[in-house]
Amino acid sequence: MSSNPLVTRRDLLRAALLPAGAAALAASGCGRGLQRTADGRREVVYWTGWSGAELAEQEKLVAQFNRENPRVRCRILTQFGQSGYQKVRIAFAGGATPDVMSTVWAEELAGYALRGVLTPLDDYLKRSGRDLDAEFTPGVARMLRVGGQTYGLAVTTNTAFIAYNRSIFREVGLDPDRPPTTTEELDRAAKLCTEYEANGSFRRYGFRPGSLQLWAYVFGGQWYDVASGTVTAAHPGNLAALTWLQSYAREYDLRRMQAFQTTFGSDQTPSGPFFVGKIAMWQTGEWAQEFIRRYAPNLDWGWFALPPPADGTGRTNVTPAGGSVFVIPKACPDKEAAWEFLNWLTSPGPVAQFCKGVHNVPPLIAAAEVDPYFHTDPLYRFCVPIAQGENAFGPPPTPVWPTYSREIGRVEEKVMLGGADPKQALEELQRRMEKEQRLVGEDLGR
């Protein structure tokens, strides 16, 4: 054994540990203090959940902000996909959050807010002379508030409607200028438009309703009472909606319908079943127009709002509200700079530009005024008032909503495909979600 080695063990160890430690420090990125760029501007790190064309639109806005703002510089990072949104939770857990992020779904907002990791934005809004209720559509404003405080801001919302093929309507003797206004008319039109092959499989079908969560509102139901903070899964309106959905499972072989549907491409390809005239009515949203323009430019199509039952118990012009929500984590070291960026990004000009770019409806009432497109385009002329109406429903502000919403989907499947009894299924859901709410409440109340 050499008594005087050129390299001692200690040297080796040090050499091995040094880069490892440096890498660990660099990777953690936590405990960030105030960040400044080389030219002395304050830096805001922004995580976005958008990718592809939508990311490009966000990057355009960020570049514009960086050009125009002398004090703050924004650095945008994409965390797209399901795992991107999951990363957010881990970032919160590790205290390694960015300054601004839009990687939070509206349905997750209450959970984060009540766990105390988000900055309430009311003071900032007030100081900048802004007013949530006056600026945002009612559905979106309701969704951004948890326990009376504003925890997020939105730059997009959507309008749900039913697109219909006018040629098929004409072919089966329906007036294409008078689309269904009640669920009864919708059912009749669906039946008229459906055609079978000799072996009983579909040649074309009329309509396949989806989302109990949404149709419950059309039938006058609700899932959660904000005022009393109670679960209302067994609401009579919800039952009416589920019973109506079940009538489709009785009338049609849904499994065959599904199999038929999968033979065509997805709704984002030229062979989408609606584009090629294989389904007469399609429950969709404003973004569909772009795909139709691209893939089926000669399709003669129209749209109508989700129709309520004829007996007057339902709601007209129902649509979901929501999508991604912008938040400022509580751990953000420079909230002023973060707000300066967020305040600009959620002002009418940028919101209008983004919504037009990604084919969504602006949740800011003023944004719809900035660009005449939202008033001249026939579909947007129809969609904007619905999104701005009272019957736009975002996720209710309860921390159990992500679980609740998934369980509503399971109930729908159990009834539609598994033949479960709607009333029993909803009552069981009510019991389980009450219990869930109590357990989460215990956790959050400590």
């Binding site: 063990r9 939770r89 499994r255 199999a259 499947e413």
Partner: protein, 306 residues
């Protein structure tokens, strides 16, 4: 005397130094093991007794998670049932298929290496890619499988959209990955001494006798290995369901690991998911032990007295 004593002391010092050196070399692994394995495992045991959402500190709740698991979570039992179905049917089918392919490919044929490669290829394809490919193969109306069945006059099932057929569809798809087990069987087949076959043929043994009296007994250690690995793998069945069905239709492909994942990363019930992980660990352990215990009766190790 004193010379031997100093020598002994020097030997001891040297042994100690060697130990230190050895430990130092093993240290990166030891640190990795402690930080990335031992600690998380122990932490999950503690979390399984907590309500823990990953954001706020864990709150000790005793056995509440286990009580919910066993008595209030219908999906726990459903997912356990789905997983046991795969263990009971998917695993044996996969083992037999791998063995059958290995026996077929253990021939002295021209270009046998090519065929072996061919059968092995699918098992090195990423599971996600395979899954998406099979989504199309299994399409009820235009998928190759049902089109082929239709040619034979059979109206194929709806596969992944039918709760009764979704799991069999996944098992069918799993056969595509039989190449992994096949390679191990092939290696073991080549290790069986030629002399045994020679002796058997001198005694007049033919095909099936040779298979059941020589080949299979000699393969039993490898079968045991594949069985145990398959058992552990099947209990953790996840990716295919996550990619292809998200657990549907009607929860028929919500396997244990998928349910666990959803609890942990969709609902952020880390404590609950930890409890689920420990229950799964105990079930897997019990099954593996059971297999080991019974293996004495059917596994033959060369050189062992019977």
């Amino acid at each position: 005397m004193s010379l031997t004593a100093t020598r002994a002391a020097r030997e001891r010092a040297r042994a100690a130094r060697d130990n230190r050196t050895g430990l130092l070399f093993a240290l990166p692994w030891l640190i990795g093991f402690a930080v990335f394995f031992a600690y998380p495992v122990l932490a999950s045991l503690y979390y399984s007794l907590c309500s823990y959402d990953a954001i706020r500190p864990p709150r000790f709740v005793g056995l509440q998670n286990f009580q919910r698991l066993f008595f209030e979570d219908d999906l726990f039992w459903k997912s356990l049932g789905n997983t046991l179905y795969m263990v009971a049917f998917g695993l044996p089918v996969g083992l037999i298929a791998a063995l059958a392919i290995a026996l077929l490919l253990h021939q002295k044929l021209r270009g046998i290496a090519f065929y072996r490669t061919l059968f092995y290829l699918p098992s090195i394809t990423p599971v996600v890619a395979t899954s998406i490919l099979w989504l199309w193969l299994l399409n009820p109306e235009i998928g190759l499988i049902n089109v082929a069945l239709a040619k034979l006059g059979i109206s194929g099932p709806a596969w992944l959209t039918d709760p009764a057929w979704a799991k069999p569809a996944l098992i069918l798809m799993g056969l595509w990955g039989a190449g992994g087990g096949m390679v191990i069987y092939l290696a073991a087949l080549q290790d069986i001494p030629e002399s045994l076959y020679e002796a058997a043929s001198l005694d007049g043994a033919r095909g099936p006798t040779v298979l059941f009296r020589i080949t299979l007994p000699m393969l039993t250690p490898v079968i045991l290995f594949n069985l145990i690995m398959g058992l552990i793998g099947t209990f953790q069945y996840f990716t295919q369901a996550y990619v292809m069905t998200s657990g549907g239709p009607q929860d028929s492909t919500t396997f244990y690991a998928l349910h666990l994942f959803n609890q942990a990363f969709l609902d952020f019930r880390m404590g609950y998911a930890s409890a689920m992980a420990w229950v799964l660990f105990l079930i897997t352990l019990a099954c593996a032990l059971l297999v080991f215990k019974t293996s004495a009766r059917w596994v033959y190790y060369a050189g062992e007295e019977r």
